[in-house]
Amino acid sequence: MDLSQAYSMMWTDLGATLSLAIVALAGLVLVVFDAFKPRHEATPWIAGLALMAGFVIEMMNLSTPEGLAWFDMMRTGGSAAFVNMLVLGSGALSVVLSVPYLKRIEHNIGEVYTMILFATVGMLVLGSANNLITVFVGLETMSICLYVMTGFVRSEAGSTESALKYFLLGAFSTGFFLYGITLIYGATGSMEFGAIRAAADASAGFMFWGGVSLLLVGFLFKVSAAPFHMWTPDVYQGAPTTITGYMSTASKAAAFAALIVILWKALPAERWADVLAVFAVITMVMGNVIALSQQNIKRMLAYSSIAHAGYVLVGLAAGSQAGYAGALFYLMVYTIMNIGAFGVLALLEWDGKEGSEQTMDSLAGVGYRKPFLGWSMAVFMFSLSGFPPLAGFLGKWAVFAPAVEANLVWLAIIGVLTSAVSAYYYLRVLVVFFMKPADEESPAASTPFDVPRASAFVIAACVVLLVLFGVTTFALEVTQGFFGAAALASTP
């Protein structure tokens, strides 16, 4: 290949991964901009616009079939575009929610937005990876930014503690992950998904499966599946609330997307169905049961996000095209619900009480004070517990139906029973919001409580999307198209 050919290829590939380029560039620009104009009003705008632009670009890429770019290191279009859309959308909404929130906790610093942009870059790489090295690079870029974001409120002991915990455990899990990649490379002689599959189909020995196991441990840690979930409650509780919303959704979507693609393309997935089913059961049971006893809503939502990782794993365990598609759809719904729920929680810290300290009781009767936030939270809670006609139900349906089809009826039954358990703690939030009288004497009752317009818009958008995706199925149809035989064939 001569130089001019490589040069023209570079432009083609850059076009194919334009959103990545824009977000990365915006991140670099912001680093410099923030150095000269610290805490400038425009910083979040630039970040938000870059993410929105990326979102629109990926939306247009959605209908293009899967393709490869950058010497087969990255995938474009199809499912990669879908996951990138989720990540970018989650980032953009989180930026909007973060501005008033960070202003209120007096930490509206430009680095946060830069970090969101770089974390998003990592997630985009992760979500569109076609090679284990790309996966690793994406995963690390994302994780390091998340460690920083978790702990950037240095005055808060909880924030710092959670960041350190996250960092140490995360570094440990990265070790597993990297060692897994090494073993797989040793066994198959390749890092590229298709080639790994070909080699594994020919002969897969102990070394290969050992490598895959370690890789899986790394992934399950990142998606906070039990029994690798221990970091989640502390980190989600300690991190600033809007950042928690961001990392609980985008990072999970990206990591799950990479796992799905590896299962789909690199491994003979059917062999992993039972293992994934077992992890799904442990995750659903642990997440939901421990969430029952939480007094802090933020921590409860952390456990709930563990449980939701379990539901996604049910779709993965089904090991079919519909299962993977259902898992992707679920991730989208989960992203919308959680962004909305954490967005409401962030606004509910109006009385100066950090979300990490706020107990169920301190929010009594808040649904009457701010009916909009209250009823929006009701939609998020009902959707999280999987009530029709909200999208959470269709999401559960999308992962349980393939499981039943794959003869995992027992798994679906455990899944629905745990989701009945989950209804209890989700409803408890609404009990507090609507059915407990507010304490009129508390200082919170007299503190003025404004809902910024931009935040209200984001929350309303989440509500509308949940209803829309609950009563229509076009998004489900889109995801179903990603994993056909045609898509597999087009990427050798």
Binding site: P388, F393, A401, M435, T473
Partner: protein, 534 residues
């Protein structure tokens, strides 16, 4: 009268009304818009009643059907499919009738947060109507669950002392059942899709009915479905959520709960459990009949022991719904017809009882029967309606309750599936017990001396309250003296249903004996080779 999409309009008009009430500003605007929407829905639903012709068979498609199959991706045969048949027409009418009645009964009862209350009430009505009208079981499931959300808030926000406990218990009980049903539903959809729909997952009621399920599959699927409906009915021993929910719910909530929400369970048994799994249903018929009879007697005895009038009526629901379940599992035309009409009767008479108790509660803020006494002299009109409803509920001939209970009992005596006159004789004692506890309530509250000052000065019914009770009282008498036109609406459908059940049952048994025969005739080596190629 021929309005296109009438069925869908009747279902979704209240939802539209919910949006309208959300926009309304003043309290009276909210109330009047809710009343207007529910009344309009009632008027339109009369069009359904007149448009439905029982002489036209609904074996292949429901009447006044609206269908759209573009809802789901092509790989799933899940449709928006609603329509009217003999099984649901009366229940839909009951739902739309209770709509304005419930709004009127809440007029002064609801003291706070009017807007969400009426909005949720209207959403609830859409859910319930949708449940009855759906001919696609996935759609049915969505409406079934949709009723939980508003009811949860109605009990939890506007309920009595212990409302949170009651509301959460209500949701969790129903949810466990319905989620297990969801798994069974998915399984059924794939199995039926493979057999009768060219491999495409289907939830179309007609396709599912046409699917002859192998015997070994029927058992657990039937149990998962029946569990969901038995919780909703509620069948003894799954009934414990009901008294809590009833007692804590505001009057409007209780009326809807007793009037139509419980009927979703019995309707589900008739519409889905029996025709989908006929063999399993008959196999377990005795179990359900025994539980129903235990419920009849137990509910009646517990009712007698109550001091709270609302609790008494709540437990009487357990007893009355036991009759309906008994009638369903008798598999005879009389009993099934009795069950269909008894669902309506129970909705009317128990609804009226809850309404009157609500009126008393508004006046005295108590439901303890000892706090009353001698009301007959101070509020004669109210007493008249109370006694009428009590007699209807106790099954006095000439009033509606008698028709249903009588049909159920003679049908169950004749039943070859149950084949146990002793059981039915035990059930009959429920009628006597009903008279005991209901007349005891009347005796305690309305007869005797006027000892308490507040009771003596109690105001009698006002115009609004009369407007609520008169239609219900009229229906009690009409249904009691002339039940034939109402029974005629459901008769062909019930006959058809029982025929379908019978022919499916025989076919499944033949299939089972046939495959047994094949297994016996095939040499072992060949059989194992067959399974391997599978």
């Amino acid at each position: 009268m021929n309005i296109p999409y009438l069925t869908s309009i009747v279902i979704f008009l209240p939802l539209l009304g919910a949006a309208l009430t959300m926009l309304a500003r003043s309290e009276s605007a909210i109330k009047w818009s809710a009343l207007g929407v529910t009344s309009l829905t009632l008027l339109l639903s009369i069009g359904l009643y007149l448009g439905f012709d029982p002489a036209v068979s609904t074996a292949a498609a429901p009447q006044l059907a609206n269908m759209s199959s573009s809802w789901f991706p092509e790989m799933f045969d899940v449709k928006y499919f609603v329509g009217i048949d003999g099984l649901n027409i009366l229940l839909i009418m009951l739902t739309t009738l209770l709509g304005p009645i419930v709004v009127l009964s809440s007029w002064t009862y609801i003291g706070k947060a009017h807007k969400p209350y009426y909005t949720l009430l209207l959403v609830l009505q859409t859910g319930v109507t949708g449940v009855f009208a759906a001919h696609d079981i996935f759609l049915f499931y969505i409406f079934f669950e949709l009723t939980l959300i508003p009811m949860y808030f109605i009990i939890g926000i506007w309920g009595g002392e212990n409302r949170v406990y009651a509301a959460v218990k209500f949701v969790l009980y129903t949810l466990v059942g319905s989620l297990l049903m969801l798994v069974a539903l998915i399984y059924l959809g794939y199995a039926a899709g493979d057999a009768v729909n060219g491999g495409v997952f289907t939830t179309d009621w007609y396709k599912l009915v046409s699917y002859n399920m192998p015997l070994e599959m029927q058992g657990w699927l039937f149990l998962l479905f029946a569990l969901a409906f038995a919780i909703k009915v509620p069948l003894f021993p799954l009934h414990t959520w009901l008294p809590d929910a009833h007692v804590q719910a505001p009057t409007g909530g209780s009326v809807i709960l007793a009037g139509v929400l419980l009927k979703m369970g019995t309707y589900g048994l008739v519409k889905f459990c029996l025709p989908f799994f006929p063999n399993a249903a008959q196999e377990y018929a005795m179990l359900f009949a025994v539980l129903a009879v235990i419920g009849i007697i137990y509910g009646a005895l517990v009712s007698r022991a109550q001091s709270d009038a609302k609790k008494l009526v709540a437990y009487s629901s357990v007893s009355h719904l036991g009759f309906v379940v008994l009638g369903i599992f008798a598999f005879t035309i009389e009993a099934m017809q009795g069950a269909m009409i008894q669902m309506i009767n129970h909705g009317i008479s128990t609804g009226a009882l809850f309404l009157i108790l609500g009126m008393l509660y508004e006046r005295r803020h108590t439901r303890e029967m000892t706090d009353f006494g001698g009301l007959a002299t101070s509020v004669p009109v109210l007493t008249f309606f109370m006694i009428l409803s009590v007699l209807a509920s106790a099954g006095l001939p000439g009033l509606n309750g008698f028709v249903g209970e009588f049909l159920i009992l003679i049908g169950s005596f004749k039943s070859t599936v149950l084949g146990s006159p002793l059981l039915v004789a035990l059930a009959t004692t429920g009628v006597i017990l009903a008279a005991v506890y209901l007349l005891y309530m009347v005796y305690q509250t309305f007869w005797g001396e006027l000892e308490i000052e507040e009771n003596a000065t109690m105001k009698d019914l006002n115009g609004r309250e009369l407007g609520i009770l008169v239609p219900l009282a009229a229906l009690m008498i009409i249904l009691g003296f002339a039940p034939a036109p109402f029974l005629a609406k459901s008769e062909p459908a019930v006959k058809e249903l029982l025929q379908t059940i019978e022919s499916k049952r025989i076919a499944a048994e033949e299939m089972a004996s046939l495959s047994e025969g094949i297994a016996r005739w095939t040499p072992d080596s060949e059989a194992s080779a067959l399974t391997q190629t599978d």
